[in-house]
């Protein structure tokens, strides 16, 4: 009993010391094969905090970093710790959709603000939407929808769609179908999620001679797929449109093998706006690599927090005011157009990029076109947003 009391007293005194700082929890994939995504999210968040001299919105902040290890049970534990022990008011990050689904309700039910900077599963955008959740990335389907629209605009008649056989793979093909009009998907190929060699499928694709191939192979799977596609000599004969396959985290391992590949997303390092040019230069200087879209999303999350904390003068415990300040999204997004929809996901322009050499001769993403302007996700109608 005595020991417990002493421990409690100690804990209280410690938290009194720390209370001068605003605590922010960061949760992301920081180990395992998907770690480059979480690392870019974390690095971009810390970049803005460092640029502001350790502050967000003029208030000194302490970021508590937690690795969710791509395991929902681990994510639950670290979120419990952030909520109950560290008593954070704000959590940001979250890399994967299954992690988001595991912790979204727990965090928002507690009235803690969750600024998601990657995963955007459909339930969170639709029926389970919460006033405490904001996304600075996209709803998962968006990156597929922009590619579908692009394929329609280009007039591709015969398209083959390929993805790993799991939920996100099916979502990314469904999203593509939603906006692809005027042609047919002559084949859909689903490969087991742990399959590393695609020679059998590539031979099939080559024999069917489609106008274009649409693929979703995130992370290391994408590295395998792109290399093998190029080695099969198909880069010359088949146009590839991709989503979440060639990005800032996989291009360093791919380089020339990915030249000419198309990819749909919301942001590219070559965007000319001032805010973006400054961000890219600062990120490259500090971390010595080209920022990926995951870094961009997280940098915008940091900017959003910066603007909202400043508006409420650091008083984030006034939840109504802080919510209004977040909702206003009063910051210069490095993607250009940005505002929050009713479900607090972005309304934004979606672009298609191709893989090309940048001005320094490095392989990177280059803007090709903007098939969707002020695009919103298709789940916003299912969201009945409660007042805070």
């Amino acid at each position: 009993m005595k020991r417990t009391l002493i421990a409690a007293a100690l804990a209280l005194s410690l938290s009194a010391v720390a209370s001068a700082q605003l605590k922010i929890g960061f949760v992301g994939e920081l180990s395992g094969p998907q770690a480059p995504l979480g690392q870019d999210q974390y690095d971009a968040l810390m970049l803005l905090i460092e640029q502001n001299g350790g502050k967000l919105g003029g208030v000194p902040v302490q970021v508590i970093k937690e690795d969710s290890q791509l395991k929902p049970d681990v994510a639950n534990q670290v979120v419990d710790k952030l909520l109950d022990k560290d008593k954070v008011q704000i959590i940001t990050g979250i890399t994967f959709s299954n992690i988001m689904m595991a912790v979204h309700k727990k965090i928002t039910d507690k009235g803690v603000f969750l600024i998601g900077s990657n995963a955007g599963p459909s339930p969170v955008a639709g029926a389970q939407c919460s006033p405490y959740f904001f996304s600075t990335s996209w709803q998962n389907d968006n990156q597929a929808e922009v590619v579908g629209k692009f394929a329609s605009d280009k007039g591709y008649k015969n398209v083959i769609a390929m993805a790993p056989n799991y939920q996100a793979g099916k979502d990314f093909i469904a999203g593509f179908k939603r906006t692809y009009k005027g042609g047919t998907i002559i084949d859909e190929i689903y490969t087991p999620l742990n399959q590393q060699d695609f020679s059998a499928e590539l031979a099939q694709v080559a024999s069917k001679k489609p106008d274009a191939l649409y693929v979703f192979y995130p992370g290391g799977l994408g590295v395998n797929f792109v290399k093998q596609f190029q080695q099969a000599g198909l880069n010359k004969s088949i146009t590839v449109m991709s989503a979440s396959t060639v990005d800032g985290t996989t291009l360093p391992a791919l380089r020339e093998a990915a030249l000419g590949w198309l990819s749909g997303t919301f942001w590219g390092p070559d965007f000319p706006n001032d805010a973006n040019q400054k961000f890219v230069a600062a990120f490259e200087k500090k971390y010595n690599r080209i920022p990926s879209q995951y870094a961009a999303q997280s940098y915008d999350a940091a900017q959003l927090l910066d603007s909202a904390i400043r508006k409420v003068g650091g008083k984030v415990e006034n939840k109504k005011a802080f919510h209004a300040a977040l909702k206003a999204a009063d910051f210069k997004s490095i993607r250009g157009n940005f505002k929050f929809n009713a479900n607090q996901f972005p309304i934004q322009d979606m672009y298609v990029f191709d893989v090309a050499k940048d001005s320094k001769g490095r392989v990177s993403l280059r803007t090709v076109s903007k098939p969707l302007t002020n695009h919103q996700d298709s789940y916003v109608g299912q969201c009945n947003m409660k007042p805070i």
Binding site: N165, K227, G233
Partner: protein, 309 residues
């Protein structure tokens, strides 16, 4: 058209098969001769890929990359054998599984610390980056090279085991280790040699696979599972078994993936077929393994050593 597709799929199966053979040969030798279960064999494959990629980045020479991978993995195997595993050879298989599983975690973390969590760059050598036209379809020349190297290694191993003095000692050591030792042969040295040879072959498989797959921490585990299936089907300890089983697994797996979805579409409606096709295709090799175990529990080419232990 369909004939060409089938042929190119057969080539793909063959290529996967020889790659699996490179891994299975080492694993099955170590098991057959030392009765040692080495789950860290996949880590040696990963190390081979990383050593190769690092050497390639420094020198731009694929031959040097090959050399670095084979020699590097061989040396790591030698050190592992001398300093970490010798004590485990006489222990229970479960202890060996536990210890070598720990080694997997150790190597994955080590790689992550040195090279970072993302996948690293490794490309096909320029001379092999083209495709070759055969039977009217084009096939990546690099995959031809893999098939060639794999078959050469198979031939080399056959000659080494069957025709040389060292091979004779290896065969003798597999069946009668105590007798060999009492005849004045250093059986420990022989074991180390076999282990290092297996490690070097795993490293060779790793560097050959490097330009095809993503070189990243943990890349050895999925391929280890296939390798275990191969040595179970082939018969523990049998190089010949490993060779044929690897080719069978490679071809069955590839043809299954290529044609199962189409076959399923003929039977079920599209949605069911798209879900069931890949699932059943990926189960095929395990079904094959179950069948082999049911009818020939010792594998297709059992060795007396594997049978008695």
């Amino acid at each position: 058209m369909t004939l060409q597709l089938t042929l190119s799929q057969l080539m793909n199966g063959l290529q996967l098969g020889v790659l699996l053979f490179l891994l299975a040969a080492g694993l099955t030798l170590v098991f057959g001769i030392m009765s040692f279960v080495n789950l860290a064999h996949g880590s040696l494959y990963m190390l081979g890929a990383y050593f190769g990629a690092a050497a390639f980045a420094k020198t731009e020479s694929f031959l040097l990359a090959l050399l670095a991978a084979v020699v590097g993995a061989g040396i790591v195997g030698l050190l592992l054998d001398r300093f970490a595993l010798t004590k485990l050879y006489t222990r229970d298989h479960l202890d060996q599984v536990l210890a070598t599983f720990g080694l997997i975690l150790f190597f994955n973390e080590l790689i992550r610390i040195i090279w970072g969590p993302g996948s690293i760059f490794m490309q096909v050598p320029d001379s092999l980056s083209q495709t070759v036209e055969i039977f009217g379809f084009s096939y990546p020349s690099y995959r031809f090279a893999i098939i060639g190297v794999g078959l050469l290694v198979a031939l080399g191993l056959y000659l080494l085991i069957q025709k040389t003095r060292v091979g004779m000692l290896i065969r003798a050591g597999a069946t009668h280790p105590h007798m060999v030792a009492s005849l004045g042969v250093n059986i420990k040295w022989l074991n180390t040699l076999v282990f290092a040879l297996g490690a070097a072959l795993a490293g060779l498989a790793g560097v050959m696979a490097g330009p095809i797959v993503s070189v990243q921490p943990g890349m050895g585990e999925p391929v280890l599972i296939l390798t275990l299936v191969v040595i179970i089907i082939g018969g523990l300890g049998s190089i010949r078994g490993a060779f044929f089983a690897a080719l069978i697994v490679g071809v069955v797996d590839t043809l299954g993936r290529a044609f199962m979805p189409t076959i399923m579409r003929g039977i079920f409606e599209r949605n069911t077929a798209d879900a069931a096709g890949p699932a059943i295709a990926s189960m095929l090799i395990y079904l094959l393994m179950a069948l082999v175990l049911a009818f020939k529990p010792q594998g297709l080419f059992p060795t007396s050593a594997g049978a008695t232990r």
